[in-house]
């Protein structure tokens, strides 16, 4: 094995790597936040909207779930300008991630809403709770408990998926890696370090989400 590892060449660019990781976190965080608004509205539309809206949402969900994210990004970044909508690569990346996570989120949120049994809501009504109180005390917390695992793993998936945004040169970690690679020609070293950085972020979020679940979402014991 005659390969000389030159990690130092890559570490020289550590400010770029750090900035890339930060961009990835901001991009994923923003996309998740906006995506969840889309998902909640979409789930409401799917459970109680008019028939045409439900069909439209079904079409949206199936279209997104059955096509690659890379093609969705290309459609938004290269395809939309044909319709007169020109976006910067960062905006296009954010929009693509929101559109993508929204489709998965609708199904998650809907499952959460449907996990609340009708009897619970009726019990709340018969106790004289107002609709907003019923939503807050009877629907919201148990629903969050039910969807928390899928919601958090969706966020980590989104963060990892955001690396695909490098294909349109959005500023995030993978694009930073490509940039460093083209300057140092140290392909293995760059991608190895960046892979470790992604893994570190995943581990961090796995830990944080598990801690949050332990502290705030503990289910009351059934005694």
């Amino acid at each position: 094995m005659g390969y000389q590892f030159e990690f130092a060449d890559v570490f020289a660019y550590w400010p770029d790597l750090l900035a890339g990781a930060l961009h990835t976190l901001v991009l994923s965080g923003l996309a998740m936040a906006i995506g969840m608004v889309v998902a909640v509205l979409g789930a409401l539309g799917k459970t109680s909207g008019p028939r045409w809206l439900q069909w439209f949402l079904d079409g949206y969900i199936e279209a997104i779930r059955n096509t690659p994210f890379l093609i969705q990004i290309f459609m938004i970044y290269f395809g939309l300008p044909a319709a007169g909508i020109r976006l910067s690569s960062d905006t296009a990346a954010l929009l693509a991630l929101v559109v993508n996570v929204g489709a998965y989120g609708i199904e998650i949120i809907r499952a959460g809403i449907e996990s609340i049994s009708k009897g619970q809501i009726e019990a709340g009504k018969s106790l004289g709770l107002r609709p907003l109180q019923i939503f807050r005390f009877i629907i919201l917390k148990p629903a969050i408990q039910a969807i928390y695992p899928s919601l958090t793993s969706q966020f980590i998936l989104l963060m990892l998926n955001s690396s695909v945004c490098s294909a349109i040169a959005a500023s995030e970690l993978t694009a930073a890696a490509g940039d460093i690679q083209s300057r140092t020609f140290r392909s293995f070293e760059v991608y190895f370090i960046v892979t470790c950085m992604y893994f570190a972020m995943s581990v961090l979020f796995w830990g944080a989400f598990a801690a949050i679940e332990r502290i705030w979402l503990r289910k009351p014991s059934l005694r």
Binding site: G79, Y191, S202
Partner: protein, 216 residues
């Protein structure tokens, strides 16, 4: 720049065979690897379970794109020449091994312990116990999530275009660079992916519903 013609459309649509071939290779490779990972995850030895868990976590905690990049660049360290096809097939197989391994571990664990204990009491050794008693029962439960993952895998092959493998996404990019009709071209490619993935997703959903009804 030139005009998009029928030949271009034909070039893109027929490139789907490389998408399908890559998906098949990754599914076979991932199926074999996934079985090993699932058996290791449910093994009696703690170190083996731990090793398999580490493997799964690494692939679940890093982007598929990075896994493909490393599959492309790591062999070079050992002086092995690998082309984009080989790198994509190996990378996606390793990726699929982790995910299928985790899916199948779940299916194996759903089979009641008594089954395995009864087989042991009858004097069956590990291999016939797993392959004749446990896995056949786990198989039915595993079908819907396995098909669901196959859809993920087929979509994932599009990332092979980034390391330079000419499947349908790369073919579309090549034609787009010459003709610059991105909307038409990528909508066409999206449609092709949809026609492959949607029936699989629908089948997986129906099977899953049937299983939950049956187990109620």
């Amino acid at each position: 720049m030139r005009v998009l013609n029928e030949g271009d459309i034909f070039f893109i649509v027929t490139a789907v065979r490389w998408t399908l071939l890559l998906s098949l290779a990754a599914f076979i490779g991932g199926g074999i690897g996934g079985l090993v990972v699932a058996l290791a995850r449910t093994a009696e030895f703690k170190w083996l379970r731990f090793l398999a868990l580490g493997y799964i976590k690494i692939f679940q905690g890093t982007p598929l794109l990075m896994q493909l990049f490393l599959a492309f660049f790591v062999p070079g360290i050992f002086g092995i020449d690998i082309d984009p096809w080989g790198a994509a097939a190996v990378g996606l197989s390793l990726h699929a091994s982790a995910f299928l391994g985790e899916i199948w571990r779940g299916s194996i664990e759903v089979v009641p312990r008594g089954q395995s204990e009864a087989a042991r009491a009858l004097g069956l050794t590990y291999v016939p116990r797993m392959f004749l008693i446990v896995i056949p029962q786990a198989f039915r439960i595993a079908i819907p999530p396995t098909i669901g993952f196959l859809v993920q895998l087929i979509k994932g092959t599009s990332l092979a275009s980034i390391i330079g493998f000419v499947e349908i996404t790369r073919a579309a990019q090549i034609i787009n660079n010459a003709t610059f009709r991105p909307f038409t071209i990528f909508a066409l490619v999206a449609l092709v992916y949809f026609l492959i993935c949607w029936p699989l997703s629908a089948y997986s959903k129906i099977m899953e519903r049937r299983l939950t009804v049956a187990s109620r």
